[in-house]
Amino acid sequence: MIPPGLEKQFNILDFSLSSLWRRKYKNLGIILVFSGVIFLLASFQMLTGALSGTAKTVLANTPEITIQKMSAGRQEAIPLNYAGRLSSIFGIQAVVPRVWGYYFDGSNLANYTVMALEPGSMPGFSRLGLTLAHGRFPESGDAGGVVLGRSVQDILGLDDRRRFSLFRPDLSLKSFSVTGIFNRESDLLTNDLIVMNPADARDLFNIAPTMATDLCVYVTNPAEIENIAKKISTLLPDTRVLTKNQIHKTYQVVFSWRSGFASICLMTALVAFAILAWDKASGLSPEERREIGILKILGWETGDILAIRFWESALVSFLAFVIGTTAAYIHVAFLGGTLLKPVMVGWSVIHPSFKLLPAVTLGDLLLILTFSVVPYLGATVIPAWRCSTVPPDSVIR
């Protein structure tokens, strides 16, 4: 047995649904456009949330402190003897020099990241084998040996060949031999990597043997990272000192919905839709005005008419919200964010295929709901209230 109050609401809901169905093409069009806007906003939020979540998880073991030498506002090579100057700071476990940089492959228009460090120098070196599909990392005396990311192998067109060459700055060729390939699971980090010995990287980039690109510092007590970073920046004033915490914060900023061009475009689309909804609702058609007038003459109260408009708007916006967010999840989880990916990777020739779990949090859903459903409710119910307070005889005359 349905309580009388609820039965009345069911009847109003039935009337609202019939009313929506009478103008089905217009309402389906609104649901479609509305779902599209919510889909874009939710896709963007889920994709960037997934990327920042992944960054937070996998970058947990990033170097605790990174030291870069600065000159005239730019980063330049850092002398290896800077590592020795840090010996006076208590609590430093290891200082690992790295040689790394970018190699632009002009024939394929691709940028590779060349990374070189002494084998075994990093604390987590023993587990590196997990990242390889096959092969091994080059050892200290293994001149010319490299491990390639999967896209680098594809773009160089190596297939089963093991040897290839890259140009030095003076355009002479340096030969390399592939000793291993990174696996698919590590794509999100290693897709554009060429890992080699520091001596080979110095030869390729023409860097002096006494220099490195940066220094990675590992500390004994993680609680002391900030203190040690401050001591380093005092001891080496011509350097920039980055801590692990700052690296993590970077990813919360670059992928935040509050920053970036795309979010501005999406918010603009939402505002445009709210204006459209307002325009549509504020200019009720003469037929709709007459319907309201007849209902009032038949004994319907203003509250009942508002309930009809509320149900109509709530149904349209809620259905659009559910369809839009569901489609956004499918877009990110199954299609790798295909529509937004070109914006995120720009002109990059190398980019990994995204395998990301969409970030869906209650806060995000409430935020999208607030930006979509609430403005639409306001934009349709308020004009209906203004119309329903007008004397019915003046409306139907």
Partner: protein
């Protein structure tokens, strides 16, 4: 059939689809744990600092260790021209020591 019952069927259908997606999310999270372990090994072993998402410019390939003013530093008055530079938010200058 009452229109509200047709609506109920549509809502149940959507609930079913979303329920399936919820189950999918659980399975995918379990599946991704393995990927994350491999990625964490790469980070620890090579000292990596950034995700390989956009490789077109150094400040979007390695935003964590690039100069915050990098997009505009190639020559005085230069303008940003890489598409990803306008999509990605810049790290706050105050983050650097």
């Amino acid at each position: 059939m009452r229109p509200s019952k047709i609506l109920l069927v549509i809502l149940l259908l959507l609930l079913f689809v979303d329920g399936m997606l919820y189950l999918h999310a659980g399975l995918m999270a379990r599946d991704l744990q393995n990927d994350h372990a491999v990625q964490a090994a790469a980070v620890a072993g090579l000292g990596l600092t950034d995700l390989c998402v956009a490789t077109e410019a150094r400040y979007t390939r390695h935003p964590a260790v690039s100069d915050p003013m990098a997009p505009f530093m190639d020559h005085p008055g230069t303008i940003e021209h890489f598409p990803t530079g306008s999509f990605w938010g810049a790290p706050q200058a105050a983050d650097f020591l």
